[in-house]
């Protein structure tokens, strides 16, 4: 019982620290620096401590200091309660979604079963979708409670876009569920031990559709009409400042990480290296004894998983700095007239293949 408790706490602390302590600040830097490198610029490199800049890695610290000393502003006429609570509603689902994403296999250390996922829910995917739709409330409330035209328009656009893409996103994932016959993310991950059983080979169309929907759900370019800066200043968070403003950004960055984690789990073999199963890892690390081998195999699992996650973060950033913004009607047409029918056809074809 105590061992279970310690295990859970350790996993929660690990995920929190890697998400909030590493990914959230570092992604702000990555976004600047990667866009700069892609556009033949240099990017942020001015913040220094004692003359050292290390490629602008001090900018997240400078940003944090700046943000913490800013005034926390609530506009006159805004609904104070909802205006305050909206960034939290945005941020919490972004963090909480990672609870069901497995970042490693199941191992036995000192006679204790360690499963590298915080909450091994039977309906993991449904939990992900449930939390993703909760984030919509944060956006809509932020837009509505600010009492600003820009915010309201941004919130309206966000609600329409996110509700539409939620429908499509749910359907794109059905194919994967049918193939692996489970809603449990750990089981889906474990089923991809064989390289040729990775989701990308079984469901290539599903992967593209899911990634599209996920980016749209995250409101990033090319689907960023809710915060279209050339039209709506900053969209639904125009009236936010200081820490609350950053919470929206952190929510966006953490959602990138979460989307990458889910894509990795569903389509890219979760924590598995190609052609290497967990049993092979254990036998490879036999020299360290049974417990040491399990720990080393776990580390390899976690490293593999986060390497894949980093790749998909890079991919999403590249997409963000490559494509121009869709128009509102184009977004809606893409969702209802293209992604939805194609995902239905995908489900039909998958069903036929699974049945035969």
């Amino acid at each position: 019982m105590l061992a279970d408790f310690i295990e859970s706490i350790a996993k929660i602390v690990f995920i929190f620290s890697i998400n909030l302590g590493f990914f959230a600040p570092i992604l702000g830097w990555v976004e600047r620096k990667q866009s700069a490198v892609m556009q033949d610029r240099i990017g942020a490199n001015r913040a220094d401590i004692g003359g050292f800049t290390i490629m602008g890695l001090f900018h997240p610290i400078a940003d944090a200091v700046k943000v913490l000393t800013k005034e926390d502003f609530i506009p006159a006429g805004a609904n104070k309660f909802f205006h305050t609570i909206a960034p939290f509603i945005c941020l919490v689902p972004a963090i909480a979604t990672f609870a069901v994403v497995p970042f490693g296999g199941r191992y036995e250390i000192f006679g204790h079963q360690v499963n590298l996922v915080i909450a091994d829910l039977d309906v993991g995917i449904l939990y992900v979708f449930a939390l993703a739709s909760l984030a919509t409330y944060g956006v809509v409330l932020a837009g509505w409670s600010s009492r600003s035209n820009w915010s309201l328009l941004g919130g309206l656009r966000a609600s329409a876009q996110m509700l539409s893409y939620e429908v499509a996103m749910g359907l794109t994932i059905i194919g994967i569920i049918m193939v692996y016959g489970s809603l449990k993310l750990t089981e889906i991950g474990a089923a991809q031990a064989n390289f040729f059983r990775w989701g990308i080979f079984l469901q290539p169309v599903g992967f593209i559709l899911f990634l599209t929907c996920a980016i749209a759900e995250n409101k990033r370019v090319p689907f960023d009409i809710p915060e279209a800066e050339s039209e709506l200043v900053a969209g639904y968070f125009t009236e936010y400042s200081g820490l609350k403003f950053v919470m929206f950004w952190m929510a966006e960055f953490l959602e990138i990480v979460t989307i990458s984690g889910i894509v990795t789990t569903l389509f890219f073999g979760a924590w598995h290296l190609p052609f290497v199963t967990d049993a092979m890892l254990l036998s490879f690390f036999q020299f360290a004894g049974p417990n040491g081998a399990a720990i080393l195999a776990m580390l390899v699992n976690v490293a593999t998983f986060f390497a894949k996650v980093s790749f998909f973060i890079w991919l999403q950033m590249s997409i963000r700095w490559t494509l121009p913004r869709f128009r509102y009607d184009q977004i809606m047409r893409l969702c209802w007239k293209m992604i939805l029918p194609i995902s239905l056809i995908n489900i039909f074809v998958t069903g036929l293949v699974v049945l035969l």
């Binding site: 990667q34 490198v37 892609m38 556009q39 033949d40 590249s318 997409i319 490559t322 494509l323 893409l334």
Partner: protein
């Protein structure tokens, strides 16, 4: 006789050089409708990603191995630490050219004062004992100067030239922007390139 109102003026050019038909710009075919391939988005997105990723990869490698012939693949200049080398045609703030002994070349003819479209220059002429004219006061109002370079163009002695200086021109007080003679004087050596340049380009005209 051809007037401006002629609808179809007959071309009276002699048949030399490139034929007129070839001078017409090529018509750009602009397709409004997307093809089916483009409507699929995915492949066009991948094509765009290929372009940006190529730049990304090239620059990431360029950070480690600078490409040949270039210092680096990024051409950003770190301004306060690095400067671009300005061409002689650059028009910075006007300066008065000094002789070897430190006195100004200017003979106070007043042409620049007359020519200046912004009325930025005011000269008080004076005469030395040996009959040479010189400006006893030469004030250039930098809050009015538009950097057109007419003063330099009209000057018969190359005594006022546009230097390459572009820094420290902002002031918080208008009084400080009235530049007296002492603030304007620069040695001939420091503006040599510009003097050569104006000699070359203005000698083409019939002055």
């Amino acid at each position: 006789m051809n007037t401006m109102t002629d609808r179809n003026p007959t071309p009276s050019f002699p048949n030399v050089g490139v034929p007129l038909e070839k001078l017409k710009p090529k018509r750009v075919r602009r397709r409004i409708e997307l093809t089916l391939w483009e409507k699929l988005y995915v492949f066009e997105v991948l094509r765009g990603l290929y372009v940006t990723s190529r730049h990304f990869a090239a620059n990431m490698i360029g950070f480690v191995v600078p490409p040949k012939g270039k210092k680096r693949s990024v051409f950003t200049v770190y301004y306060p630490e690095e400067r671009v080398t300005l061409p002689p045609a650059y028009r910075g703030r006007p300066v008065l050219v000094a002789r070897q002994d430190g006195s100004e070349k200017c003979v106070a003819c007043g042409l620049c004062e007359k020519m200046c479209p912004a009325h930025a220059i005011s000269i008080v002429p004076a005469e030395r004992a040996d009959g040479d004219r010189y400006p006893s006061s030469y004030i250039l109002d930098m809050s009015r100067c538009v950097y057109c370079g007419y003063c330099e163009e009209v000057c018969p002695k190359e005594a006022i030239v546009m230097s390459a200086e572009y820094e420290g021109l902002a002031e918080t007080d208008r009084g400080n922007m009235l530049y007296p003679k002492e603030k304007l004087l620069r040695s001939e050596e420091s503006v040599k390139g510009r003097i050569q340049y104006i000699k070359r380009i203005y000698s083409k005209c019939n002055y």
